[in-house]
């Protein structure tokens, strides 16, 4: 099964270098990326015939979901609730490959950040083209029963002739290479189309010296980097990255934050079901590494104010709620977690044995119950104002 896929990857690489005849020389994209654009907007690749990639990753909403609710329903009858919220597809191009130990410098020396990188909230795939296969085959998303079903739909697509032209007629007969080719096309589209990385936020213009921040936004910025207040930059660095590139607002690392359980999720109807991120159930290879249970990847904060749901389980619906959770998770845990038999069940979305994995030491966490919140209401307003400067202009 593996060999033909490798061979295909090589031939595509060769093709991309040659600018195949089908390419319009004036077009901004490679032929593969143009094909990828068609794949991205094609609802016929879903079992329901109604969902395309763009249904959940709407270009008009910074490639995240436009609909409310924890996660839009999918599957053949559009009645299946996905396990996790929809991430934005913007700003993924610097994502490193998954590693248990990611090294990044602090000051002059590098520090082991622990697990980092990879795509999806649990880093279980290492490239955008491998990522593309997952929603196609997820029963609660586009819902193809298997690769054969997906290949059947690709063969009937309006761009099938383009696929044949690019990759040769034999490709259409082989389900796995055919799906891989469509996934590579999606990857090229996401890499080449600037709408996936516009860097058009006011903060980017501020960094370039072309715009200023209001006093409130500047106060928010100060709280963002203050290691005793918001301490946001600890995981969401807001300074320029390698080569002077604009900040990613993520360190690509994983942490357990102890987000409260979201009872709207149908999977959570079962009291013994837990989404443990790095150690499963979706990711399979780290199940025995229980120190990582409850770890999810840090997302970028770019366009975070435009999201309709927050955290892996969509427990919160507004930016302010998220900030209040950070500020008061430890000082007022009764606000966030249920009680049973008079005992607060803190970190109720994790089995008791894994609750020690939750970060309790880095501010704004680490306060004692009854302490004042790490951030006041006014500070939360200021921080939210700063975070809104990270929204792209579109």
């Amino acid at each position: 099964m593996r060999a033909p896929l490798v061979a295909l990857c090589l031939s595509v690489a060769a093709l991309a270098g040659q600018a195949p005849a089908v390419s319009d020389s004036r077009a901004p994209f490679s032929a593969l990326a143009q094909l990828g654009r068609q794949v991205f907007f094609d609802p016929s690749l879903s079992a329901s015939g109604q969902l395309s990639c763009a249904s959940c990753h709407s270009p008009a909403h910074a490639y995240t979901s436009s609909s409310g609710g924890a996660a839009p329903r999918g599957g053949a009858a559009l009645d299946q609730a996905p396990l996790r919220t929809v991430p934005s597809l913007r700003y993924l191009d610097h994502t490193p490959r998954f590693t248990r130990h990611f090294y990044i410098e602090h000051g002059e020396e590098r520090e082991d950040e622990g697990p980092a990188g990879g795509f999806m909230l649990d880093g279980r795939v290492d490239s955008l083209h491998a990522q593309a296969l997952l929603p196609w085959l997820d029963p609660a998303e586009m819902g193809n029963e298997n690769l054969e079903a997906l290949a059947r739909r690709l063969r009937q697509a309006s761009y099938a002739p383009l696929l044949r032209q690019l990759f040769g007629p034999a490709l259409l007969e082989q389900p796995r290479p055919l799906a891989a080719a469509a996934a590579l096309a999606l990857e090229r589209f996401e890499i080449e189309d600037p709408s996936f990385h516009p860097y058009s936020s006011r903060y980017d213009r501020f960094l370039a010296g072309e715009s200023s921040l209001s006093e409130q936004e500047q106060r928010g910025l100060a709280l963002f980097i203050d290691t005793r207040k918001g301490n946001c930059a600890e995981c969401h660095p807001n300074t320029r990255g390698p080569g002077g590139r604009r900040p990613d607002f993520t360190d690509y690392a994983y942490r357990a934050l102890g987000v409260p359980r979201n009872r709207e999720l149908s999977a959570n109807a079962r009291a013994d079901f837990f989404d443990l991120g790095l150690c499963g159930p979706r990711r399979a290879d780290l199940r025995t590494e229980t120190r990582y249970c409850g770890y999810f990847k840090t997302p970028t904060l770019r366009n975070s104010a435009r999201r309709s749901r927050y955290f892996h389980n969509g427990r919160f619906a507004t930016l302010e709620q998220v900030l209040e959770f950070y500020a008061e998770r430890d000082s007022a845990p009764q606000r966030w977690y249920p009680s049973a038999h008079g005992r607060l069940r803190k970190f109720d979305d994790l089995p008791a044995i894994y609750r020690a994995n939750v970060d309790r030491s880095d501010p704004p966490f680490g306060r004692a119950r009854g302490d004042p919140p790490a951030l006041s209401a006014a500070e939360i307003t200021d921080l939210a104002a700063y975070l809104r400067t990270l929204d792209d202009a579109d």
Partner: protein, 599 residues
């Protein structure tokens, strides 16, 4: 944990025979049967011993003896020899750029890399404790930031308590350091300009051409004549030291440790075959457009390799010209991209190979032969102990900071100081990999009398004396504790040599001569102490040495051959110039440390 270990050691030493459970030790060429190499971090000789005056009046070459500073740390009659000036921009990278005007004042030292007692960055920008108008040369740090006087065994509490004495951590990267030192460190006046203009490279988060985050922190030194680092001074007075020992590679931790383990350098490879790394990880130190001296591609998340056999490779020509003029070989194989700056080792602690890619900052597993395999082949026992490798090393961090094992290890494990974890031969051979142990194992082996013949000891990050993330007083506490434990065991001490040094100078200023050996170094002087009943008491050795000398000592003591045909331990011992004991007449040459002993 330590208390338990001590109790156990007391019980064991009462037994008649507790030493050497291992196979009979291979015969040694000297009375030394145990070598314990303790490696601290990032201090040059002048940064630590710059104002040392040996108690016995022995000659030493340092800032004070050169008249650069006075015993109170203020500028001396020859301060101009270390005065810092600007350089002139050149179209291509140069290790000897034309000089421009003197700095009127030393650029204000910054807080770069300074951490607080909870391991968090203190901030960025100028260090408010140090004036902005210092003379543009060496200055005594302790005039502005008191030296920590706390003396106690190294615990998390004491080393954290000492952190208020931490000061800025200057850039220490390969091309920067070559440019700072130039040929032989003849004219050491560009250290500051290179640091301020090039910084840690633009491929490091937050480093920009207009603000590299660096200032004059690299010109700071501890004033031993004024009472700083009293334990190191007492060791140097009582045992043997060198004022001509060098870091073997220009730049930072990883390559200097790799050299210490192999007398050679790592290179990019796939399954042992030399290959080109991802393009964004190839160094280009030519000045970027419109900048004075800000390298085009350099930094911890990017430029780190150089194909130095190719004159056309960015940055290579200036160094190769110097080698050609001296008829020296570069030690660069064609098509090999050598790692010259810190990336993480190719395996993680669990022995999994790390992923490689343009956005991943590890280097591939290495096939370069190491001292560890050579010792093992000859039946000589060895271990590489590093703090925070094991859970037993991290109890206090996990308890008092409420951290998981992983999180605690991230703070205290010096991954660049663990070069054998980059070696395929070590990491894929269980009997060798099991010799990579934590510091708690070291204390237990010490207490039980099961120390191997050769021990490498790498402290936890907080105890290694690295500017910013540690203080020298904490390294002194660690050394005092280990030396005391060894000396309390007469059977061990009577045949032991503790060799204490730092991995490299950390980009701090040093005034000493540097021998040109090959493309990669040598680099500036670092401190070296030999603590042993056989050390020449109070001797200050001027023989030209670098970390390869430590390997040569081990190899000669246990009668091993050089590690490979190309490793640096093939270099001859120096024959000193009669007019200048610091310079070999038969360069390139490095010593074997035997001159620090009296057998």
């Amino acid at each position: 944990m330590h208390r338990a270990a001590l109790a156990l050691s007391a019980a064991l030493t009462a037994l008649p025979v507790c030493a050497e459970r291992a196979a009979p030790a291979a015969a040694t060429a000297t009375p030394i049967r145990h070598v314990i190499v303790i490696i601290g971090e990032n201090q040059t000789f002048d940064a630590l011993f710059g104002t040392w005056q040996p108690a016995n009046g022995a000659a030493v070459n340092n800032l004070l003896s050169e008249g650069i500073v006075q015993a109170d740390g203020s500028p001396g009659a020859n301060f101009a020899r270390a005065a810092q000036r600007r350089g002139q921009s050149t179209p291509h990278y140069s290790i000897d750029p034309p000089r421009a005007e003197l700095y009127e004042h030393l650029p204000q030292p910054t807080l770069i890399g300074v951490a607080d007692l909870r391991f968090k960055p203190v901030g960025t920008g100028p260090d408010p404790r140090i004036p902005a108008d210092l003379p543009s040369g060496p200055f005594a740090i302790s005039r502005y930031i008191a030296y920590s006087r706390q003396q106690s065994p190294p615990t998390l509490a004491t080393s954290s308590g000492a952190m208020s004495a931490a000061s800025g951590d200057p850039v220490h990267r390969f091309f920067q350091m070559w440019q700072q030192c130039g040929p032989e460190n003849r004219q050491p006046d560009l250290y500051t300009w290179v640091a301020v203009t090039a910084g840690m490279g633009g491929d490091t988060s937050g480093v920009l051409p207009q603000s590299t985050g660096q200032g004059g922190e690299l010109m700071g030194f501890l004033n031993m004549a004024g009472g700083d680092a009293p334990y190191l001074r007492s060791l140097a007075d009582r045992y043997a030291s060198s004022d001509n020992h060098h870091q073997p590679v220009m730049g930072g931790t990883a390559m200097n440790f790799f050299m210490l383990a192999s007398a050679d350098l790592p290179f990019f490879n796939v399954a042992g075959r030399a290959m080109a790394p991802p393009e964004n990880q190839i160094e280009d130190p030519d000045p970027s457009a419109g900048s004075e001296n800000f390298y085009r591609r350099d930094g911890y998340q990017g430029g780190s390799y150089v194909n130095c056999a190719d004159r056309g490779s960015p940055g290579a020509a200036s160094i190769l010209d110097l080698l050609d003029a001296r008829h020296l070989a570069s030690r660069c194989e064609p098509g090999h991209y050598y790692l010259v700056n810190n990336l993480a080792a190719g395996y993680d602690l669990d022995g999994h190979p790390q992923p490689l890619g343009p956005n991943n900052y590890s280097y591939p597993p290495q096939s370069v032969p190491t001292i560890a395999e050579a010792l093992a082949r000859h039946g000589v026992s060895w271990k590489w102990y590093i703090g925070a490798r094991d859970r037993a090393d991290l109890g206090p961090e996990m308890r008092t900071l409420h951290l998981s094992l992983e999180a605690a290890r991230r703070l205290q494990y010096n991954n660049d100081g663990d070069p054998l974890a980059a070696s395929t031969a070590i990491m894929t051979t269980p009997s060798l990999r099991s010799k990579l142990q934590g510091l708690d194992s070291f204390y237990r082996d010490l207490a039980r009398g099961t120390l191997p013949a050769v021990s490498f000891v790498v402290p936890k990050s907080r105890d290694n004396g690295h500017p910013g993330s540690s203080v020298v007083a904490s390294f002194e506490n660690l050394l005092r504790d280990i030396v005391g434990r060894v000396q309390r065991q007469p059977q061990l001490w009577s045949h032991a040599a503790i060799i204490a040094t730092t991995d490299e100078g950390g980009g701090q200023f040093d005034s000493g001569y540097i021998q040109v050996l090959d493309f990669f170094g040598d680099g500036p002087r670092v401190p070296l102490l030999v603590i042993s009943p056989f050390a020449r008491r109070g001797h200050v050795d001027h023989t030209y040495n670098d970390h390869i000398s430590i390997l040569k000592f081990i190899e000669r003591n246990w009668r091993l051959a050089p590690l490979s045909a190309r490793s640096r331990d093939n270099l001859p011992d120096p024959i000193a110039d009669p007019n200048d004991p610091y310079r070999p007449t038969n360069a390139p040459a490095v010593g074997d440390l035997m001159t620090l002993f009296e057998f």
